[in-house]
């Protein structure tokens, strides 16, 4: 991982750099908020660690500017302020997590490892269910034949596979596929469910989607005796 570190206390900065480098991370150090904003604008990082109290521009302002520019990189605030309100301010400014000083290096490294896991392991390239394979990276459904899926169909089938033991209601499926702000209703969801059903059929899959227009829906494996 490539990490942007904004910490004005030189001594602390040096310790953090050494710890992270020894773990194999690449660290780019800056010493105030403005430098952090400039670095974030010109280069790509996997994570950013920002101190709150810094000269020239505070960490909070830097986060706001970076988020306003559309940058979605994971940001952890290093804050000396343990007050609840300060944590809230940081998170509301756009940070993803915070660690209150004094913190142990062990904890910081554990959080970075956790982030790495989420980025790498939890986003599966392919998902299997019954006799179907969903290749999420290529938006392709495979069984005894293959067919392309749209971005929404891929998301929808992804959720259905990951939650195949549950009955999923319309609201849940819409929110996870289109997000909260989209004007998608049950009628539209029904059309996408219909696309998926037809596509499952067209690859001769022994997998079907249970449910009618009102929901809930659930993915069913009909091929228990006859695995691919």
């Amino acid at each position: 991982m490539r990490i942007l570190l904004a910490e004005d206390e030189k001594e602390l900065s040096r310790v953090l750099i050494a710890a992270m480098q020894s773990t194999g991370y690449e660290v780019v150090p800056v010493y105030n908020g403005l430098e952090a904003v400039k670095e974030a604008e010109s280069e790509i990082f996997d994570a950013m660690l920002f101190d709150v109290m810094m000269p020239v521009m505070t960490g909070i302002e830097a986060v706001q500017k970076i988020r306003a520019a559309g940058n979605q990189t994971y940001i952890i605030m290093l804050t000396a302020m343990a007050e609840v309100d300060d944590k809230v301010t940081g998170l509301d400014a756009g940070a993803d997590d915070y660690i209150t000083k004094p913190f142990s290096l062990k904890e910081l490294l554990a959080r970075l490892r956790s982030l790495e896991r989420r980025n790498e392991n939890y986003t599966e390239d392919t998902l299997d269910f019954g006799d179907i394979t969903l290749v999420t990276t290529e938006q392709r459904l495979e069984s005894y034949n293959s067919i392309s899926l749209s971005a929404e169909e891929t998301k929808l089938l992804n959720i259905l596979i990951l939650n195949s033991k549950k009955k999923l209601d319309n609201k849940t499926l819409i929110e996870h596929t289109w997000g909260k702000n989209e004007k998608i209703d049950s009628e539209m969801l029904w059309i996408y469910i219909s696309y998926l059903r037809q596509k499952l059929q067209s690859v001769n899959a022994h997998v079907s989607i249970y449910g009618n227009k009102r929901g809930p829906y659930q993915l069913i494996n009909n091929s228990k005796e006859d695995p691919k």
């Binding site: 290529e138 392309s148 696309y195 067209s202 001769n204």
Partner: protein, 227 residues
């Protein structure tokens, strides 16, 4: 220079083919003259089916229809490839696609509707079928292939008179048809630098076209739900 050589070799090959073709002009023998007539008759029958359905208030079953008699050169090449002797019997009985009809449909459902309809027709008998629509070939090719046998007023290679002739019917959607013609172009280009990558891209394209076909089918069904 290399290009020039290739061109020369191609020309020599063509000349050779033409000469071989001339020597074997008669692979269909005396039966050759019936083939266009039989082809036209089959196309006429399928056209009638379309009008029948159309007349009953249904939508037309296909978008268009084309037919061809395999040229003698291609038939000779096919028989040689299959190790068959160059006789009318090989060309018209062992090989069953001297007459080829292609039916291009608007929707996937129409393919199956037509296949089922053809199976009930008295004028032909389906002797073989291959469903590459529900199980595409590894390169992405999709089509439904039927071999039919038709009774004709003409003598056939098995000394029956009136005799039986075979024809291959390929049914596919417009999207499958465009894909197949692009793939066909690629097959005869031998100077492509990255054939494997292009092949993968073509396969991806086939999956995307299939996706559109299925999507259009679904939308049509949704529209008809409101009826």
């Amino acid at each position: 220079m290399q290009y020039k050589n290739q061109f020369l070799i191609l020309r020599i090959k063509n000349i050779k083919l033409v000469i071989e073709g001339m020597n074997n002009m008669e692979i269909y023998g005396t039966y050759g003259k019936y083939l266009p007539e039989i082809k036209d008759e089959i196309m006429h029958k399928i056209d009638e089916l379309n009008h029948e359905i159309d007349g009953q208030g249904g939508r037309k079953l296909y978008e268009h229809l084309i037919g061809r008699v395999k040229c003698e050169d291609s038939m000779i090449e096919k028989c040689q490839r299959k190790g068959l002797t160059l006789t009318p019997k090989s060309a018209l009985s062992n090989c069953k696609d001297a007459i080829g009809i292609r039916v291009v449909c608007n929707f996937i459902d129409d393919i199956y509707k037509l296949v089922n309809l053809l199976k009930t027709q008295e004028w032909c008998k389906v002797v073989k079928e291959k469903d590459y629509v529900s199980k595409s070939k590894p390169n992405g090719y999709r089509s439904y292939h039927l071999i039919i046998k038709v009774s004709t007023p003409y003598p056939d290679v098995n000394e029956k008179n009136p005799g039986d002739y075979y024809a291959e019917i390929q049914l596919r959607t417009i999207a499958m048809d465009s894909w197949a013609s692009l793939e066909h172009e690629l097959k005869y280009k031998h100077n492509i630098k990255n054939p494997e990558q292009i092949g993968n891209e073509l396969k991806r394209c086939a999956d995307q076209l299939a996706s559109c076909d299925v999507q259009m089918q679904t939308i049509r069904q949704v529209i008809h739900e409101y009826d």
